[in-house]
């Protein structure tokens, strides 16, 4: 007989009748996220560990299962437990989320633990803290640099200065700093006539498409830092492609998505930026706009990290109305058919070695560029495989992580070199810089190719 059927005096309706008991405070601090259900769901199958690009190369990194559910349990059972400093070696690629068969929110646990480690255990005067804070607040440096792009481009890659940065701050001298554009996306956008010009362009397209001139097609563009300061051509392509499909675009006030801040445990900085982003996006969502990002890490932050880490008015609404640019067109337009019926010639008629960024994977976007562009005449595209590029935003910029970063990227570099052609493609600007660094290839964004294919 089963034990479950044997009679006991346990009464599930009134389990403690006649006994005194100490109530257990399950939610000790209502401001903390309760991650217990996630920790309880982990049955230690370790499949998350097989997805970790860092654990594959770093003999000091214990992997996502430890960083997440195991560390969370240790923290709950011992008030003096301190977060293990290895959490700073997690690159926040978030691949483990996609692996877990039980839906354990691994990256949320890692982000929470890292935030606590930085806030409570890290020496705020240490070089590591200062270096990480500078790297995480890329937007601040970029704002200054973009005022004097020529000088910044020279100074940031000036050999002796870079040697000094490595010695004093621990920023690797092996990489070239991204180039700042002479005109930011926002400058271009304003000079072009902003939202009014976009509405006129959208109306023209709607007429061409046989739609109502005032059709309700409007999107709010979250361009992020990189498309603004470094690659405004991506932002411009986004605007032209969306206008081509009859969408009027607005470019609301925005700050950094927070991606580099999450990865460095700078949650207070991230929250400050998120408050601005959520506030401006949620107003627009109320007016019927959807939020569109061209960087998969930005869309990941707005969709997943914001609601997982912050409690800000309107945050859920923004998360559920944020999309990646290509994804949005795949849902709402006949883009597959349009691509099949057109062709590309000229500068972008190339064979592309495509790398899917880790942050695209959890959003289910790792295949969309390859699957779309393989039907486009005039170009070829090849997926260079599942490997992480190894840079993970700021991770590969740290002097002590540089070699690991290149070791992680080795598989991608090899596949890129085996692929036909010598032009790369990816959605993520830091993956792009790693691809370029490892192979010397020029790297393009899918929106640039989409523009070349559709907007004649």
């Amino acid at each position: 007989m089963s034990d479950a059927q044997s009679p006991t005096d346990f009464d599930p309706v009134e389990p403690n009748t006649g006994h005194d008991f100490e109530p257990v405070d399950v939610f000790p601090d209502s401001n903390d996220f309760d991650l217990r259900p996630g920790a309880d769901s982990c049955f230690k199958c370790s499949v998350c560990d097989t997805n970790c690009p860092v654990a594959e190369v770093d003999d000091d990194f214990p992997g996502p299962k430890f960083q997440g559910p195991e560390q969370w349990r240790l923290k709950q059972s011992d008030d003096d437990y301190e977060i293990d400093d290895s959490v700073m070696s997690c690159s926040n690629c978030m691949r483990c989320d996609n692996a877990c068969p039980s839906g354990v929110p691994l990256s949320q646990m890692h982000n929470t633990a890292r935030g606590e480690y930085v806030e409570e255990q890290m020496d705020k005067l240490s070089i590591e803290y200062i270096r990480n804070r500078i790297l995480a607040n890329y937007r601040t440096s970029a704002t200054i640099a973009s005022k004097v792009p020529g000088l910044a481009n020279w100074g940031m890659n000036f050999g002796p200065a870079r040697w000094l940065m490595e010695k004093t701050l621990g920023v690797t001298k092996e990489r070239e700093f991204p180039e700042f554009a002479s005109e930011t996306f926002r400058d271009w956008w304003a000079a072009r006539g902003g939202a009014d010009a976009s509405r006129r362009n959208a109306q023209q397209s709607r007429e061409r498409m046989g739609l109502d001139r005032d059709a309700d097609k409007k999107v709010a563009y979250f361009h992020g830092c990189y498309s603004n300061y470094n690659s405004p051509n991506v932002g411009q392509a986004m605007v032209r492609v969306f206008e081509h499909y009859g969408y009027e675009v607005v470019a609301p006030e925005q700050k950094c998505s927070g991606t580099p801040m999450f990865a460095n445990g700078m949650l207070k900085d991230a929250r400050r930026h998120a408050e601005v982003n959520v506030s401006s996006m949620s107003d627009l969502v109320d007016q019927g706009y959807d939020a569109i990002a061209s960087c998969t890490s930005c869309s990941m932050a707005l969709r997943q990290e914001y609601p997982e880490l912050f409690d800000i008015d309107g945050i859920e609404k923004v998360a559920s109305n944020t999309f990646e640019s290509l994804e949005y067109l795949r849902i709402h337009e006949d883009i597959k058919e349009d691509i099949q019926e057109t062709d590309v010639s000229g500068e972008l008629a190339e064979e592309f070695a495509y790398h899917a960024p880790c942050h695209a994977r959890n959003q289910g976007l790792e295949r969309q560029s390859v699957e779309l562009f393989r039907d486009l005449d005039g170009v070829g595209i090849e997926d260079v495989g599942e490997s992480c590029s190894g840079i993970s935003g700021t991770y590969g910029w740290k002097e002590e992580k540089y070699e690991k970063s290149m070791e992680i990227g080795e598989e991608m570099f090899e596949h890129m070199e085996h692929a036909e052609g010598d032009v790369g493609m990816t959605e993520c600007p830091t993956c792009a810089s790693q691809m370029e660094h490892g192979t010397g290839y020029e790297i393009r964004h899918p929106l640039e190719l989409l523009e070349a294919a559709l907007v004649k």
Binding site: E56, N98, R303, A319, K336, G364
Partner: protein
């Protein structure tokens, strides 16, 4: 608007992959969506057809011969033995698995020291077959508690294998942490990465072979836990064979499993080549139907609902473990389309008191018509454009029978073929 295809397959395990591949090969525009990464990385990587009869007799020598004796509701009876053969030949076509030269089951040693009857096995396991009478040395690694080589060897001898088998435990060369991941070992061996041995740098393959050579006597075959590389596993094995001077094989392991990962990779590669599209990472949470036709299903991404529409749908979401079937104290149900699942009213009837007894929960799943369309309680079709494949199907106990892979491949093949035919 929605993301459109002819056939939409829900689930990225063996059944989902097989059905998507078959439908795409039949010319349909196929899309596969999976909540999480494929469950294949939890699997041993062995592909079984039928190891034991439902009455527990076996190991079965010829699985095809034994299929005709199965009860009528068994998925193999639904699709027919000839179709199982066809499906297996498609599997053979897209993988480099062994075992297709015969109908007879192979006997493969497991990491628990048992011998498993299986129809197909990875090339890397070939030198380890229990029907081979050459002596075996099993190599365990100090930090890898999942594979205790002397213990496995003792178990195999107790099982009566026709050869001498000995287990030795060595330290993996280099400064790996005690809890190193299988992917760490695999990556080091794939790249022949440098490891430090007594202050000198060596390639990981050479260093490992040298350690094995200090404990090997005259055994002609050497077995390792399945960590011998990922992308370049054949090269790793060949290099070790050369340096050790014996045949080298892998013993399939529990999750997470590199042979499972490699199988996953080769099937997704085949799917890519067939022109199908796929995505993972988010669940299907809802659907729209018009009468008995499914019109659209919705993928949920952090509150956004992404519509996906197809002419035909295939449900390959797995069983109780894969969460294609869910249960609570009152009910057993299929969570996406709420297809009928036959189960007793009293939950104490769902299991047997004996651990290895005849549990009815093991056979929970949807029942189908002969084209694999799920049926309601009154035996009418749930949806005219929905088919089911793999462990979401009821009527068989794959754990006891050792039939999980074969049923997934065979029913996936049939579901894919029928869906593609209907979509035309």
């Amino acid at each position: 608007m929605a993301i459109n295809s002819d056939v939409l397959v829900i689930g990225g395990g063996l059944a989902g992959l097989t059905s998507a591949l078959k439908a795409a090969r039949e010319g349909a525009d196929v899309r596969l969506v999976s909540y999480k990464q494929s469950s294949l990385r939890h699997a041993s990587g062995l592909v079984d057809l039928l190891g034991y009869t439902p009455d527990g007799e076996g190991p079965v020598t010829d699985p095809y011969a034994a299929m005709s004796d199965l009860h009528d509701a068994h998925p193999y009876q639904t699709v027919g033995t000839d179709t199982v053969r066809e499906a297996m030949s498609m599997f053979d076509d897209v993988t480099d698995y062994r075992g297709d030269h015969t109908d007879t089951n192979a006997l493969v040693p497991t990491h628990g020291g048992t011998v498993k009857p299986t129809a197909r096995y990875p090339t890397g396991a070939a030198a380890g077959l229990a029907s081979d009478d050459r002596d075996v040395l099993l190599i365990g690694l100090e930090a890898m508690v999942d594979f205790d080589a002397p213990h496995v060897a003792a178990h195999l001898e107790a099982a009566g294998v026709p050869f001498n088998v000995r287990g030795e435990t060595i330290r993996f060369p280099g400064e790996l942490q005690a809890d190193a991941k299988i992917t760490r070992y695999a990556k080091l061996l794939d790249n022949n990465g440098e490891v430090a041995v007594r202050g000198r740098k060596k390639g990981a393959r050479d260093a490992l072979a040298e350690r094995v050579n200090t404990v090997r006597e005259k055994e002609e075959r050497v077995g390792f836990p399945a960590i011998l590389g990922d992308a370049h596993t054949d090269a790793v094995r060949a290099a070790l064979e050369e340096k050790i001077g014996a045949d080298v094989f892998e013993v399939p392991m529990g999750p997470p499993s590199l042979p499972g990962l490699r199988l996953e990779d080769s099937l997704f590669e085949a799917l890519d080549e067939s022109g199908a599209s796929f995505e993972t990472g988010n669940p299907i949470v809802d659907f729209d139907a018009d009468g008995d036709r499914i019109e659209t299903v919705y993928i949920e991404k952090n509150g956004a609902r992404i519509p996906n529409s197809a002419d035909q749908y295939i449900l390959a979401t797995g069983g109780l473990v894969g969460k294609g079937i869910e249960s609570d104290r009152e009910n057993v149900h299929e969570p996406i389309f709420d297809c009928h699942i036959e189960h007793g009213e009293d939950r104490y009837d769902w299991f047997d008191g004996d651990v290895f007894g005849d549990h009815s929960f093991a056979r929970f799943g949807v029942e189908t018509d002969e084209t694999l369309r799920p049926l309601t309680a009154s035996d009418s079709v749930e949806f005219e454009n929905l088919r089911a494949a793999g462990s979401v199907l009821g009527g068989y106990d794959f754990q006891a029978e050792k039939s999980g892979s074969g049923v997934s491949i065979a029913t996936g093949y049939v579901a894919g073929e029928n869906a593609a035919a209907e979509a035309r």
